[in-house]
């Protein structure tokens, strides 16, 4: 419990750094007023909007105002949407979490099964095939894979829609694209982990006591081999979010990733920071969850 509390108390530290960095970089590289009003804005009109957004003050003062508002839970008003930034981000969050959680789940299931298969049939045909596929999957850019999947499943076979949000059939291609991005890592880690665990004394002992290969695998090896994959999940979350940006663009999926990219182009700082904040909090919490799950699986790990 104390461990949990300490972890949670440390959450704001990286967040403040991230927010300060995003704020300063976006302010210095582009002027939201100029972008919003376009090329032929009049000086008077710019002055009005600048004052409205507190952009007429020096950057450190602006950041001070921003932090004060943040402490009150106010992320500011989006320039583009004319609505509270957090509200806009929260609306899109569901779509992204749907994609991410399903993608992650699929990646874990395929990764674990693939890794186990590789280990069981080490140096045989299945190991070779799966490893080759894994390397190919890892080296394939997700935008290209996405377009190939659209070509095959939406155009040639006409089983699935090309893009957009709707029923569950709209989720298949984006989820598969996102999972393909992660599966290879899981397979490779799982394979090595299973092979290493199989050489451990307790496995040898179990076999010596008469446990068949299947029993040894499912009861003795797997529970001990799964932990590296769980910690990999924590490490991969950031990458997954990056993958979501690309996947959302290809499949016209109205999620936070696309929102964030367009907000960056518009220098819509409140939206970018609200989105970064939510993503960072999600990643931190997910990592915490990973730690807890690991401790639950493996009694050797103590939360201190």
């Amino acid at each position: 419990m104390r461990y949990l509390l300490r972890r949670l108390l440390l959450v704001p530290v990286p967040l403040i750094f991230v927010i300060a960095f995003v704020f300063v970089v976006l302010r210095l590289t582009g002027d939201p007023v100029a972008i919003y009003l376009g090329l032929d804005a009049t000086p008077e009109q710019e002055a009005v909007l600048r004052a409205e957004l507190h952009l007429d003050k020096p950057v450190p003062v602006q950041f001070g105002y921003f932090l004060l508002d943040l402490l009150r839970g106010d992320f500011g008003t989006s320039i583009q949407f004319k609505r509270p930034a957090m509200e806009v981000v929260a609306e899109r969050l569901g779509s992204t979490l749907q994609l991410l959680s399903l993608g992650l789940l699929l990646a874990i299931v395929l990764g674990v099964l693939g890794g186990v298969a590789c280990a069981v049939w080490k140096d045989k045909v299945p190991d070779f095939l799966i490893s080759v596929l894994a390397v190919a999957g890892q080296s394939m850019p997700s935008f290209w894979l996405g377009i190939l999947l659209i070509q095959l499943f939406a155009l040639d076979l006409q089983w699935l829609p090309t893009s957009g949000q709707g029923g569950w059939e709209h989720m298949v291609l984006p989820v598969v694209t996102l999972a393909t991005f992660l599966v290879p890592n899981f397979i490779l880690v799982m394979r090595v982990s299973v092979l290493e665990t199989a050489r451990e004394q307790f496995v040898v002992t179990a076999r010596a006591r008469g446990a068949g290969p299947a029993r040894a695998l499912w009861l003795h090896i797997l529970p001990n081999a799964i932990n590296p994959v769980v910690s990999l999940v924590g490490l991969q979350l950031g990458r997954l979010m990056g993958g979501a940006v690309v996947t959302e663009s290809i499949f016209a999926w109205p999620g936070v990733g696309r929102l964030m990219v367009s907000a960056i182009f518009q220098r819509d700082v409140p939206i970018v920071i609200a989105a970064v904040f939510i993503v960072a909090v999600t990643i931190v919490l997910a990592n915490l969850l990973v730690d807890l799950v690991q401790a639950a699986i493996d009694p050797r790990i103590r939360l201190r």
């Binding site: 972008i35 949407f81 659209i150 155009l155 109205p254």
Partner: protein
């Protein structure tokens, strides 16, 4: 194990069947359009010009543009200039707002007043700069006055949607801008930012009820996905087919490509304040170094046009028919460079945005290659939009940069970028500035045309930019779609479109 396998197979079958039946169910009454640009808001105060494409599904201006950039009556049936600074508009009678209340002069006055209010942020306000106010004469007559003669007022009004006074006062501006309630052909149903805009036909529309019962405009930013959605039959019409995907659309028998030359002129502008481009011979040399016809064919699929050695396209008011594009002549380019003291060329750089204009980066790369071929070693620098706009305001784009200037039909709107008044110009000419100001402050159309024609001549001689292309707008549609035409000004006009 067998049970698991059975479940998997059953699920897979359900996927296939379920999905295909879902596709077959595509609503016959709905027109689905795949949009390339989709703004984050449908409020008319919005920044991006493209917001208008969504606004004008529900709202309408007093005077509208058609697909060819010609002005046509909309909420105003006719108009007259009582004096150069005093216009009278006679409003269309019997027009109803979507809530059933009648449209009157009070709505026009309300809209104009709030748009010109200095405290109101309204991005397209400058389009009617100089308007001092609107006055209601009777329910169907309204006067608009300007500070000085305003030949561009009508074109400017085409970018201002008229909003309902009573409705805005009742629900507040924020709400009125969130759920548009206009006089236009389509009625608001639902807006999902980043995903889609759903509308239904307005059966009482004064211009005749739309041919389709429902309209859905979908945001599909990725070009390949947009094309795939058209091929799969999920969309009936898509905007902006990427040039490299044209062949794959052309080979599909059930798809059609419609292209029109837009009023966007793509140019590569020089920083004429510094050497080497302060020497007109160097600028001329590079103009001769570019094979524009070949680029048009390779980079724009042969759609659009090569600009005739001037800033504006043929369809724009101010076009000078006596000026022709300079031929491709690398030998002459080399001779001119030598004459200017650069027999061995020099290092050069082109700044460009990526994806803002059709094939922008590809064109910049090809131009750089052709310049390098005559000895001017040119590299291309892709700049992110926000940074680009900062460079633009500080006039720090570097020796050359690529930009597309909109005219929406009148030379005033894009020649301004070459005047001191714009504060964005690199090249300058006192005569040019004087003509520009004259042309925008007289009501005499012939005098205006003459001024623009002379301005085009000056630019042709002085080469402040390499005038490349009138960019095309290339849209795709299913063969079942009729009544569709892409527009020069990039707005979607969909009330006459039907799907068999």
């Amino acid at each position: 194990m067998r049970g698991v396998l059975r479940t998997v197979v059953a699920t897979a079958l359900a996927v296939a069947v379920g999905a295909s039946s879902a596709q077959a169910q595509k609503d016959k009454d709905t027109l689905v359009v795949g949009a390339s640009l989709f703004t984050d808001s449908i409020a008319p105060t919005g920044g991006a010009y493209i917001t208008l494409s969504l606004c004008y599904q529900t709202w309408e201006p007093l005077v509208a543009r058609d697909n060819d950039d010609k002005l046509v009556p909309a909420l105003a049936e006719k108009w007259e200039a009582i004096s150069p600074t005093h216009w009278r508009f006679f409003l269309r009678k019997g027009v109803k707002w979507h809530d059933g209340t009648p449209f009157t002069a009070a709505d026009v006055k309300f809209t104009i007043d709030y748009v010109i209010d200095p405290k109101q942020v309204y991005a397209r306000k400058t389009r009617i700069a100089g308007v001092t106010g609107a006055e209601v004469i009777d329910d169907y007559t309204v006067d608009i006055k300007t500070a000085s003669p305003a030949p561009l007022l009508l074109r400017g009004l085409a970018d201002i949607p008229i909003e309902s006074k009573a409705h805005t006062e009742k629900v507040g501006q924020a709400e009125a801008h969130k759920k548009p309630m206009g006089t236009g052909p389509w009625k608001y149903v639902e807006w999902v930012a980043g995903d889609r805009y759903d509308l239904v036909a307005n059966p009482d529309y004064w211009g005749g009820a739309p041919a389709m019962k429902k309209l859905r405009i979908r945001a599909i930013p990725e070009g390949a996905t947009r094309v795939a959605s058209l091929v799969a039959g999920e969309t009936d019409i898509i905007e902006e087919i990427p040039v490299d995907l044209l062949p794959s659309v052309e080979k599909r028998k059930n798809l059609r490509i419609d292209a029109v030359e837009s009023s966007v002129s793509l140019v590569h502008t020089f920083d004429t304040r510094k050497p080497p481009f302060n020497d007109v011979r160097v600028r001329l040399a590079l103009d001769y170094a570019i094979d524009k016809q070949m680029l048009l064919k390779q980079m724009l699929g042969g759609y659009g046009s090569v600009l005739d050695g001037q800033l504006v396209t043929k369809a724009t008011f101010g076009y000078n028919p006596n000026i022709k594009s300079r031929p491709y002549d690398p030998a002459k380019a080399k001779a001119l460079l030598a004459e200017a003291g650069f027999p061995k060329g020099f290092e050069n750089k082109i700044n460009t945005l990526s994806g803002r204009y059709l094939s922008d980066v590809d064109i910049a790369n090809a131009v750089a290659g052709m310049m390098s071929a005559v000895g001017v070693k040119t590299s291309v620098n892709i700049v992110e939009g926000g940074v680009w706009s900062q460079l633009d305001r500080t006039r720090e784009q570097g020796p050359m940069y690529s930009v597309g200037w909109f005219s929406v039909g009148d030379a005033d709107f894009n020649t301004v970028w070459y005047t001191e008044a714009s504060k964005r110009n690199y090249w300058t000419s006192a005569e040019f500035d004087k003509l520009w100001l004259e042309a925008r402050s007289t009501m005499d159309e012939a005098a205006r045309l003459k001024a623009y024609n002379r301005m085009m001549e000056i630019m042709h001689e002085e080469v402040p930019s390499i005038f490349l292309f009138g960019l095309p707008r290339i849209s795709g549609r299913n063969e079942k779609v009729s009544g569709w035409q892409p527009s020069r000004d990039s707005l979607l006009r969909l009330n006459k479109v039907s799907v068999k």
